[in-house]
């Protein structure tokens, strides 16, 4: 790609070593987030989206760990950094927004202080007054009305949308290069969702930052993403710019996901789904992980994992169906 990659994940393997065996939650993921672009990572629950994000932030808890691979932020390798070094990067160069604005703020601390803390931890403000001023500024930027007054509010005094704005302010206050948003709008209603998405798009443009947005909502993807990665069972199965993906989807899983969006005017009695569930990651065979649910699966699919084939410019797909076309 022409643009410089802010985040470069190469062959990332994150596994959980449980009593029942090894769960390969992230199994060889390659992912790029270029500067100034919004990249979507989509997939069903349990397919490894969040674990990919957590690997970047160093939030993988025991018994899980990053087995191998490389995560480069702005050219700097993050895998293998000590906890202390990683803490100095997180919040400063890369920060994360969590899914639940209800629980991601500390209920006993005033929201203003929680945002100020980020500044103080990263030495972006030398005095409390400066931190306060910058925080009020940030509150106004993310559209929190009466910012000064809201500074001394406790999280339970704010609505869900406002809390998510506070979270965004918290993530943005150090002006990170990369923002990771883990289902930022799942807990919000649709009008607030639209506002928050617009806000993120605007911030992305203004700061020329990269955003990695994790979602299972293809509406969100269509709304704001530039590039999309579709993830299934720990692997990237399809990757394309957003219009290319919606117009020329190649992978049967992507197709299934799109068909599963309820449409107005469709048959109201029948909701299209993908048969089956995500395979238990404890027991995956050699074949394509999607083969068990795929209408086009052949014997080859069940025996061998397809590689990522390039089907068009910037469009790759992990499916043998695409292999023929790609050649």
């Amino acid at each position: 790609m022409a643009k410089e990659n802010l985040l470069e994940i190469r062959d990332l393997h994150t596994s959980f070593f449980t009593d029942h065996g090894v769960v390969r939650a992230v199994n060889g993921v390659d992912l790029d987030v270029p500067e100034g672009r919004i990249v979507g990572l989509v997939g069903e629950s349990g397919c490894g989206k969040s674990m990919t994000a957590r690997s970047v932030m160093g939030l993988i808890k025991s018994p899980g760990r990053i087995e191998s691979g490389s995560i480069k932020l702005d050219g700097r390798e993050l895998v293998g950094l000590s906890d202390r070094e990683l803490r100095s990067v997180c919040g400063d160069d890369v920060s994360m927004i969590f899914q639940e604005p209800m629980t991601s703020l500390n209920p006993v601390l005033k929201v203003g202080r929680q945002v100020e803390e980020v500044l103080l931890v990263h030495h972006k403000a030398s005095t409390k007054e400066e931190a306060k001023r910058l925080t009020v500024d940030m509150f106004e930027r993310v559209g929190i009305p009466e910012a000064e007054k809201r500074m001394s509010a406790y999280p339970h005094e704010l609505s869900g949308g406002l809390r998510q704005r506070v979270m965004i302010a918290m993530a943005m206050v150090c002006k990170p290069r990369l923002l990771i948003a883990d289902e930022p709008t799942t807990a919000l209603d649709v009008t607030i969702e639209a506002q928050i998405l617009r806000l993120m798009k605007q911030l992305c443009k203004e700061h020329h930052m990269g955003i990695l947005i994790i979602t299972h909502n293809l509406g969100v993807v269509a709304e704001i993403c530039d590039d999309v990665y579709v993830m299934y069972a720990g692997r990237i199965v399809e990757n394309a710019p957003v219009f290319e993906l919606f117009d020329h989807k190649r992978h049967p899983y992507t197709e299934g996901l799109m068909n599963a969006i309820p449409k107005i005017g469709g048959n109201p009695e029948f909701l299209s789904t993908i048969p089956g569930v995500v395979p238990n990651l404890l027991h995956v065979g050699d074949g394509c992980t999607f083969a068990g649910r795929c209408a086009h699966a052949s014997d080859r699919c069940r025996a061998e994992m397809p590689a990522l084939y390039e089907v068009a410019e910037h469009h790759t797909c992990r499916c043998f169906l695409a292999e023929r076309e790609g050649q």
């Binding site: 932030m57 559209g143 929190i144």
Partner: protein, 305 residues
Amino acid sequence: MEKKTKQTGIQSEAHASDIGEKYGWKEMLHQMWKQNPLAILSAVLIIAIIAAAVFAPVIAPYKEAQQDLTARLQGPGMKHLLGTDELGRDVLTRILFGARVSLVVGIIPSVISLIIGLILGMIAGYFGGAVDYLLMRLVDIMLAFPSLLLSMVIMYTLGRYANSVICIFAALSITGWASVARVVRSQTLSLKESVYVEAARSIGVGKFRIMFRHIFPNCIPSLIVLFTLNVPSCILSESTLSFLGIGVQPPAASWGLMVNQSKQFLFGMPWLALAPSITIMIVVLAFNFLGDGLRDILDPYMQTR
């Protein structure tokens, strides 16, 4: 009151949610009085007892150890409101002076054991693993060992080197921290899994800062409850130790000591034992009610503030 918000860049569409007007402390007291008058009464009572202890030499009708051998074992009357003991000392005076010992012995060891328990509990809960295992086994040992026996051992060993009140501090602090540590640990365990601790980690907040800025404030409601339960139990322990004759040494006055000394007259002159016993009971109850009330106001999850 609606102030126009300065809007730079991003249009603000979010509706302002109502921030309830913050109560001043007067309204808070009023609110509390309506909800829990017992807690206010208890607070007033505790303040009164503290004042009485501080000003004991001024308000007490007699001197602490003043004996009047011609008026021994008197019943309650005009001259001695609560009667006199076997050495002719005024019981009311001795209860007032005893409040000094009992309150200090109740509060200081509670604070010490709270601090020790808080720190060790947070460390055990947050770091987990071997640290947690070792600390919790230590807690198990402390909890399994009869605390009265341990206090007695400490009193005997330290008694040679230090003042008896200091020994009581040590004995009660050492026996009291374990239960605090256990409660704090279990809270820390659940708090460290919470999303906001994860969020704090994700923005680069260090371990100790998380412990003290994010976990500690969330423990405060239970710490207050623990404190208000710990104070009366320390007062009771001191009374027990003094009753057994290894606590505060005569001629100093302490409620437990007074019960001890009056036990031989329990059938003939029950008021001698009843006066300090009822005092202990009232103070212990007052602390418990106050703790209850405080927890109700300070709990951030309750919105009835």
